[in-house]
Symmetry: C2
Subunit: 197 residues, 2 copies
DNA sequence: ATAATACGAAACGATTCGTATCGAGCCTTA
DNA sequence: TAAGGCTCGATACGAATCGTTTCGTATTAT
C-alpha cells in the first residue's frame, strides 16, 4: 500500500512540477521563450526558485518539458491508413499543431538547443526520434503488406519529408499548406507505390 | 578624388566596421555566440560600444554580418558541371564549410534568428535566398540543355535537398558525408535525368 | 566660423542568472 | 520515540550583461 520511496527525507512535492511546467509554458507562449525566466516561473507558479533549480538546469528546460508533454500527443500516426494518407495526416497534424505561438516556441526551443548539449539531446530523444520511429514503422508495414516496393530507403525518405517540413519552419520561414504536404509525400513515396490509384 | 559624402559632419570611420566584425566573429567562433557580447567586441576591437549600437541593433547582428561575409564566398556553384555533380559539389562545399565551429555558429545564429524578425530576414536574404537562386538557375539551365526533363519542380527539389541537409545539421544533429550527399541528390534529381550514365 | 555628425570613454539603472542560507515539514531507519 | 536526511518556500546575494545616456573631442560641409 505505502509508497516505496526507499530514500529517507521528505518526498518531493507532486504538485510542484506540474505547476511549474504549466506556468513556464504559459509564459513562453505568451511572451516568447526569453520571457519565461526562472524568477517569473517561480512567481507565477508559487514554486520556489531553489526547487526549480533542484529539478531543472535552467528555464528553457522547464519549458521544453512542458512543451513536449502538451504538444507531443497531438501528432498521431494511423497505421490503418494507406501509407500516403498516413503521412499526409500525421505531417498535417504536425504542421497544424505548430501554427501560431506553438510553432514560434518550437523554433525558439530548437534555437536554444543548438548551444546546449543537454537540451539538444532531450530534443532529439523526446521530439524527433519518437516521430521517426513511427514513420519508419509506417513505411516498413507498408512494405510488408505490399503497398510499397522494398527498394525504399526509409531513413532517406523520412529525411526528405521531415527535412522539407522543418526547412520551411525554421530555415526559409515560409508557410506550408495541405497541398504542399500532399505534393511532398507524393514526390517522396509516389515512385515506390506498387499500385497508384 | 575627394569622397563625396554629401552630408555634413564627421564621416563614419571606415575601419570601425571591419575591426568590429573581425572581433565579433573571432569571439563567437571561439567561445560560442553568447560569448560575443557587445562589451567584449568593443574591448577586443577598440571600437566604442556606442559606435557599435549606432550601427547594429545587437551583438548577434554583428556576428551574422561577419559570418556571411566570411563563409558566403566559400560555397560556389559550377554551372559547367553536369547537374548532379554541380549539386554534389556545392552542397558538399556547404557541408564542409559548416564542419566544426562554423557549423556550430551557424546553428546558434539560426537559433537566435528564430526570435528576432530582423535577424530572420537578414538570414533569409543573405544566406538562404542567394543559394536557392543559384540552385534554381542550375536546374533551369540543366533543363534548357536537355539534361533534365522539364517536369522537375525546382522549388520542391531544392526544398528536398537543402531541407535534408539543414535537417541533419539543425534538427536531428547527425553527420553528413559525401556518400549521403550523392545518394540524396540522386534520389531527388535522378528520376528526371534524361540519360543516366 | 558654425552647424552637424561621428568618435571613444565612462557611468547608469534594470534585469537575469545561479547559489546560498534559513526555518519548517515530512519520511525512513534505528 | 528519537535521530537523521531530504524537501519545501522565502529571501538575499554577487556577478554579468544589457541598452541608453552623457561627455568632450574630432572631422566634415556650408
Amino acid at each position: 500500500m505505502s509508497s516505496v520511496s526507499s530514500r529517507p527525507g521528505r518526498p518531493r512535492s507532486t504538485s510542484a512540477a506540474p505547476k511549474a511546467m504549466r506556468a513556464a509554458l504559459d509564459l513562453a507562449l505568451e511572451g516568447g521563450l526569453p520571457h519565461a525566466t526562472v524568477e517569473r516561473i517561480s512567481a507565477v507558479s508559487g514554486v520556489a526558485k531553489s526547487t526549480l533549480y533542484r529539478r531543472w538546469p535552467n528555464a528553457p528546460a522547464i519549458v521544453m518539458d512542458a512543451f513536449f508533454e502538451e504538444v507531443g500527443p497531438m501528432i498521431a500516426y494511423d497505421m490503418q491508413l494507406p501509407i500516403h494518407d498516413n503521412f499526409c495526416q500525421s505531417v498535417g497534424a504536425l504542421v497544424e499543431a505548430l501554427k501560431g505561438p506553438r510553432g514560434q516556441l518550437l523554433r525558439e526551443l530548437l534555437g536554444t538547443a543548438q548551444a546546449e548539449p543537454d537540451l539538444r539531446e532531450a530534443f532529439v530523444e523526446r521530439w524527433i526520434a519518437p516521430r521517426r520511429r513511427m514513420g519508419q514503422e509506417a513505411i516498413e508495414s507498408a512494405i510488408a503488406r505490399g503497398e510499397l516496393r522494398p527498394e525504399v530507403d526509409p531513413g532517406l525518405a523520412l529525411d526528405l519529408i521531415y527535412g522539407a517540413v522543418y526547412y520551411h519552419l525554421t530555415v526559409s520561414f515560409t508557410d506550408i499548406d495541405q497541398r504542399y504536404i500532399a505534393a511532398l509525400v507524393d514526390r517522396v513515396l509516389g515512385p515506390y507505390l506498387t499500385a497508384r490509384t
